[in-house]
Amino acid sequence: MKLDSMYQEIILDHYRNPHHKGLRDEFGAEVHHINPTCGDEVTLRVHLTDPGSGQDAVVRDVSYESAGCSISQASASVMSDLVIGKTVAEALKVGDVFLELMQSKGEAEGDEEVLEDAVAFAGVSKFPARVKCALLSWMALKDATAQALAAGADVAQETKESGAQ
């Protein structure tokens, strides 16, 4: 197995010049996830437009600070590219497709229509020790959107209650 199949040029590009990196002030939820096997860490913030609208809320921004290996860094960059501008439902669906690719043990090529640059990670699925690195920011995104939606639902509920008074 050639290593080049894991370290695609696209991955190395995102690693060297990550997109959307840095924490920005507007956010609905912030999470901190770690990959204890190699010490990769990501602090990720997600900012939703109208979080009270649930799965239809739009991911307006994903900002993050991270430390770790090229795979985890590049994955965060590719992930933020992919999900910003999508609804939560769409973003999580892409995450599911990516998860499926990562669990394919090198058997799948990935749907480029859905995954865009993230298909470059297909080779990573052949390296079990590195799959967690690729999934770290996606897991953080899932967690953060769930928290942002829960907070949004609370706010929506409160607004409704105060409006009823």
Binding site: L3, L12, R16, C38, G39, G68, C69, S70, A129
Partner: protein
């Protein structure tokens, strides 16, 4: 063997002949995680299973007698290897972790005078492997004892400047690593043992990374307990050793209950077997103990002084060669003085910053070079030095200077691979 010939040694390790990836010769620099095994160890275990296997201490038939003699013979070999004054002081365990858990647990359970309780202090260090941190955290949580530790200096050594304050009059246990698995530091145990005994504390030494590399004499060490594991010292996995002073082991309560660790069992209660069997409940890893015995024979034949000299020379050479790699920063002692057979470092490439150890390890693997990357079960050390992880190269009896050269070339390739 009076003169140490690494090429002859290598012939005893069948695995070193294999290739990895696209036919790359294996450069195995991960012996601190687990060493490879000489033919003599593999043969001893096979011979046991092919000709002598039965359960030990339980039968009167020929095989049971032979298996018992081989198992107890392994205990004798280990006792001689560490210069134990009494063979009963050698307790077989699963590994170092179990040995350390055994000590931590029974000291938590024991009453006066050894038992831990509120107002007592347990002292460890910031450079411990997790296996010498977590068992003491558990025991302290359960007993109400306080956990304190010696810190690290910037150059990867123990800070002993406040030794007398950390090991204070309330200290009942001091548990310290002999050689750091991540930094390679060889600790000055004399000063620590002296201070601990001055305040009446029990001293536990984690010798996992020293038993394979340095002459280990438990009497000269002066500790009360010493733990080490078989698979890092050319032996099999699944077998470790706890050495402890006979009077302590005899007085402390049992660890695991079960078959063979008992005297008389009544429904109302039981009495316990004398040591070492009191601490060896259930059917033990017999073949593994015999394998460890063969490993000890092998190391003894090489001569631990020769092993230590070979590795000292390798460490000196490696530090010098790694020093030529631009962007490489050693984590731990910068000189070969009191530096064991493990070297940790980080690697930076211009314009990109630090290359994560997982990436370093993966690209080295492509070249057939096996190193360990990550936190090495010593996260507090990484936190202390503000790094997420390290790359670690570690050596054993079969490691050559050519392999160190291969590592240096491999690291240059890693920098080219990731460099923009």
């Amino acid at each position: 063997m009076s003169s140490f010939d690494v090429e002859l040694v290598r012939k005893d390790f069948p695995i070193l002949e294999r290739t990895v990836g696209d036919g790359q010769p294996l450069v195995y620099l991960d012996s601190a995680a687990s060493s490879q095994k000489p033919r003599q160890v593999i043969d001893a275990m096979n011979a046991y299973y092919e000709h002598h296997h039965a359960n030990v201490h339980r039968g009167v038939h020929t095989l049971a007698e032979e298996a018992t003699a081989a198992y107890e013979g392994a205990r004798d070999k280990v006792a001689a290897f560490i210069n134990a004054p009494d063979r009963r002081e050698v307790i077989f365990t699963k590994n170092s972790s179990e040995a350390l858990n055994l000590v931590a647990s029974v000291l938590g359970w024991a009453g006066e005078p050894y038992g831990l309780g509120r107002g007592d202090r347990v002292v460890i260090t910031q450079m411990e492997h997790h296996s010498n941190i977590v068992p003491w955290q558990l025991t302290c949580q359960r007993s109400g004892a306080e956990l304190a530790w010696l810190n690290l200096t910037d150059d990867g050594r123990l800070d002993l400047s406040n030794l007398d304050e950390v090991i204070d009059a309330s200290t009942k246990v001091v548990s310290v690593v002999h050689v750091s698995n991540i930094l390679g530091t060889i600790n000055p145990l004399d000063a620590i043992v002296r201070r601990a005994h001055d305040v009446g504390a029990i001293v536990v030494v984690d010798a996992s990374q020293s038993a394979p590399h340095l002459p280990l004499d438990v009497q000269r060490l002066g500790a009360d307990f010493v733990a080490f594991t078989g698979h890092k010292m050319l032996g099999p996995t699944g077998i470790g050793v706890l050495w402890g002073r006979a009077e302590l082991l005899s007085e402390l309560p049992p660890f695991l209950g079960g078959g063979e660790m008992v005297g008389t069992v009544n429904m109302e209660g039981s009495t316990y077997a004398p040591i070492p069997h009191k601490y060896e409940a259930g059917t033990m890893p017999i073949a593994e103990a015999i394998g460890l015995g063969a490993a000890v024979d092998y190391l003894t034949a090489l001569g631990m002084e020769n092993v230590a000299a070979h590795e000292r020379e390798l460490v000196g050479y490696a530090l010098e060669r790694l020093g030529t790699v631009e962007g490489l920063r050693l984590v731990g002692p910068q000189t070969a003085e009191a530096h064991g057979a493990a070297i940790s470092f980080t690697l930076e490439v211009e314009g990109l910053g630090e290359i994560h150890p997982h990436d370093v390890g993966q690209v080295l693997d492509e070249q057939g070079i096996a190193v360990r990357v990550g936190q090495h079960c010593a996260r507090p050390v990484c936190v202390r030095y503000g790094i997420p992880a390290t790359t670690r190269a570690s050596f054993s009896v079969y490691t050559t200077k050519a392999e160190v050269d291969a590592l240096v070339e491999g690291l240059e390739y890693v920098k080219r691979f990731f460099g923009a």
